[in-house]
């Protein structure tokens, strides 16, 4: 069947399997020449696509155990963060690390080693993982952790599914007192103010900036900076009547059809960005966890707004030393072209994770959406050059078109990753459209 990532680009005809237990996963490994695991399909590009066999694990979604004293949970790889929040938030637990959508699976969160608005303090999802059960190329199932098969444990975090099929994981949840977030919002006038505001916010648990990537000249890099903390019992508003987890479910809306592509142009996008910038209410507010962590989840299928040809996301991380200069170059090029995103997201990242292909390192990460058009692809190649020149790297979970060279330069621990795969999958049976494109 025709499959694609969240960006709807590229679309590839894949043979799809939907195992419901470990045995069916190992059967699939035995029967198919090559394969890749897929979760909820929320990675943007071609990382979870394989023509010969795409193993969709969303039916492996059982919660095997939970320790209410430590918040350690064991669940199958297809369990989504949304399910975990539904089950455990009313008991006072929240994922330690969550990306901007709660509809990702645990297996996907590990394979992409996702990060959130708290990367500067809490690292990636993988930092909170205790062990992983993995189905290997020879059909065996092994557990890996800091003590058992530590090389496999590291390579699987951010390994894009290329080490095996993640079956189960054990990881820690974070204790929270309420389901609300205390949010602080500030508006900045230019890039240096935005970077300063993010740095000032680095003591906050959560921080993120939205950048108006169509603003030019002196306003280049202006944005809105958000900080957040989990609200405590003392922060509860009086209308809650003391109930810490009383959020009524937020109604989701769905983007019903893809609008024609001409609706996205520099004028409509510029207007949207300007409105978003001016509308942001500055100051302190108590907001729901959905509003703070998952603003786009309220618009189900929001990926449709980029039209039928789909879109690609360009997310890079740039080292601290030259990031201000690099960001200025990137934003100047995007503003000049005028076909940029609705949203550009800028975050400060902390220390690099243990996975050799794990994305974030100390510096700033910028994420941008582009409609999948020829013009934008040539712009993206130019952006890649800037990223490479400054020693940055691209995020594989978002990538649908980057080149092998950028991968090799951006991920200096690639050889370590290859050595681990030589040990566990010498014939490279786990592969994806992306791994073939990048020569991984």
């Amino acid at each position: 069947m025709m499959l694609s990532g969240w960006g709807n680009y590229p679309r590839v005809d894949c043979a799809v399997l939907r195992p419901r237990d470990t045995e069916q996963v190992t059967d699939a490994i035995g029967a198919r020449p090559t394969l890749i695991a897929r979760g909820a399909g929320r990675s943007y590009g071609d990382a979870a696509l394989n023509r010969a066999a795409t193993v969709v694990v969303t039916r492996l979604n059982r919660i095997a155990s939970f320790d209410p004293s430590s918040g350690v949970v064991t669940c199958e790889a297809g369990t989504t963060l949304d399910e975990l929040i539904e089950v455990f938030l009313p008991r006072g637990w929240f994922p330690w690390v969550t990306p901007g959508t709660r509809f990702v699976t645990v297996g996907g969160a590990i394979a992409s080693d996702v990060h959130g608005k708290n990367h500067h303090l809490d690292g990636t999802f993988g930092r909170h993982v205790i062990s992983i059960d993995l189905a290997l190329a020879d059909g065996s199932v092994v557990r890996c952790s800091d003590n058992e098969n530590p090389d496999l444990f590291a390579a699987t975090q951010g390994g894009m599914g290329l080490t095996g099929v993640i079956l189960r994981a054990t990881f820690r949840l974070r204790p929270v007192e309420t389901d609300l977030v205390v949010q602080h919002t500030t508006r900045t006038q230019d890039l240096s103010q935005t970077l300063q505001a993010l740095e000032d916010a680095s003591e906050a648990t959560y921080s993120v900036a939205w950048v108006d990537c169509l603003a030019r000249g002196p306003a280049l890099g202006r944005g809105v900076v958000y900080r957040g903390e989990h609200a405590t019992l003392g922060d509860l508003p009086p209308d809650r009547g003391g109930r810490p987890y009383g959020t009524a479910s937020i109604r989701s809306r769905t983007v019903p059809v893809s609008p024609p592509s001409f609706a996205l142009n520099r004028y409509s996008m510029g207007a949207l960005n300007a409105v978003y910038y001016r509308r942001a209410k500055t100051g302190r507010a108590l907001v729901s966890y959905q509003t703070f962590f998952y603003p786009l989840d309220a618009l189900l299928r929001w990926n449709r707004i980029y039209g039928r040809q789909g879109f690609v996301q360009h997310q890079c991380v740039l080292p601290l030393a030259s990031c201000a200069e690099a960001l200025r170059e990137l934003l100047t090029m995007i503003a000049a072209r005028g076909t940029g995103s609705f949203l550009a997201v800028l975050k400060l990242c902390g220390e690099e994770a243990r996975g050799p292909l794990s994305f974030p390192f100390r510096g700033y990460t910028l994420a941008l959406d582009f409609q999948a058009t020829a013009g934008n692809f040539s712009l993206l190649t130019e952006l890649d050059d800037v990223v490479a020149a400054h020693g940055g790297r691209l995020y594989l979970a978002k990538d649908a078109r980057g080149g092998a060279g950028l991968l090799r330069d951006g991920y200096p621990r690639l050889d370590e990753f290859s050595r681990t795969r030589d040990r566990y999958d010498p014939r490279r049976r786990f592969r994806s459209v992306q791994s073939e494109r990048l020569g991984l």
Binding site: D21, N61, R62, I63, A64, S65, V87
Partner: protein, 247 residues
């Protein structure tokens, strides 16, 4: 969910609809007893249900095709369930069933004989207590025999007739009987078939409709509801005409 509906006994619990029903009832706080031929295959699901909803969930062995197993199952039931649901079903291959008597018998036993016997036995126990709900998942295929699947359809027809008779018998005695006639459902039974999306329900959708009909004390429901209007002319068409339709 009121206490007299619990525990919910699900016969055919390893099926997609059976498991979806387990989640819907557990979500409402009901204790679960899941009957399956290989109960150990439900281990991970039982833990999941307990961890997710904080309900008690256990499994019990039942091989529908084996009379001894059915007797042992009935003896081993710890309590009279508040609700019993039969989701048991076996489609079989019609062409093979036409010449393979053992397969034909398995289809008839799984879809009619065994569920009817089990529900009869449990109905008698519920009568002793004076309350309970019996839910039988039949099929639109039981509304009319078709060349392409009449063995399955006839067994489901028998089951539907059994349920309507049981309902007539028990209605004045405090026991509710619900007949469910699903159309196409996206399950293992139908995997590989080309099904029209607008007429195909997910197991979760079917489970939600069943729970709603249960709580609303309905008698017969079609899932999806639009199947009622599709089946109406099919049921009413005169036989000479119906036979000519390549349907």
């Amino acid at each position: 969910m009121s206490a007299d509906l619990s525990p919910v006994l699900i016969v055919g619990a390893t099926s997609d609809i059976g498991l979806a029903l387990a989640h819907e009832y557990a979500k409402r706080g009901a204790a679960l007893i899941l009957a399956a031929r290989q109960p150990d295959r439900l281990e991970a699901d039982l833990l999941d249900l307990q961890n997710r909803y904080g309900v008690s969930a256990r499994s019990i062995a039942l091989d529908l095709l084996d009379a001894d197993s059915r007797a042992r199952f009935l003896d081993a039931l710890p309590v009279v369930p508040g609700t019993v649901i039969s989701v048991a079903g076996l489609l079989g291959e019609q062409e093979r069933s036409e010449s393979d008597a053992a397969l034909a018998e398995a289809v008839m036993t799984t879809n009619y004989v065994a569920p009817a016997l089990i529900l009869s036995a449990l109905a008698n126990r519920m009568l002793g207590r004076g309350s309970g709900t019996i839910i039988g998942v039949s099929s639109v295929a039981g509304d009319r025999g078709r060349a392409s699947n009449y063995l399955y359809g006839s067994a489901k027809a028998g089951f539907s007739a059994f349920l309507s008779g049981l309902r007539a018998r028990l209605r004045a005695r405090g026991i509710h009987v619900l007949t469910v006639k699903p159309g196409f459902v996206d399950t293992r039974m139908t995997s590989g078939m080309k099904l029209p999306a607008v007429l195909t329900a997910s197991p979760t959708q079917v489970a939600q409709e069943i729970v709603r009909a249960h709580l609303g004390r309905r008698s017969v429901i079609y899932t999806l509801g639009r199947w009622r209007w599709i089946m109406l002319p099919i049921r009413l068409l005169p036989e000479p005409l119906f036979m000519r339709l390549k349907f």
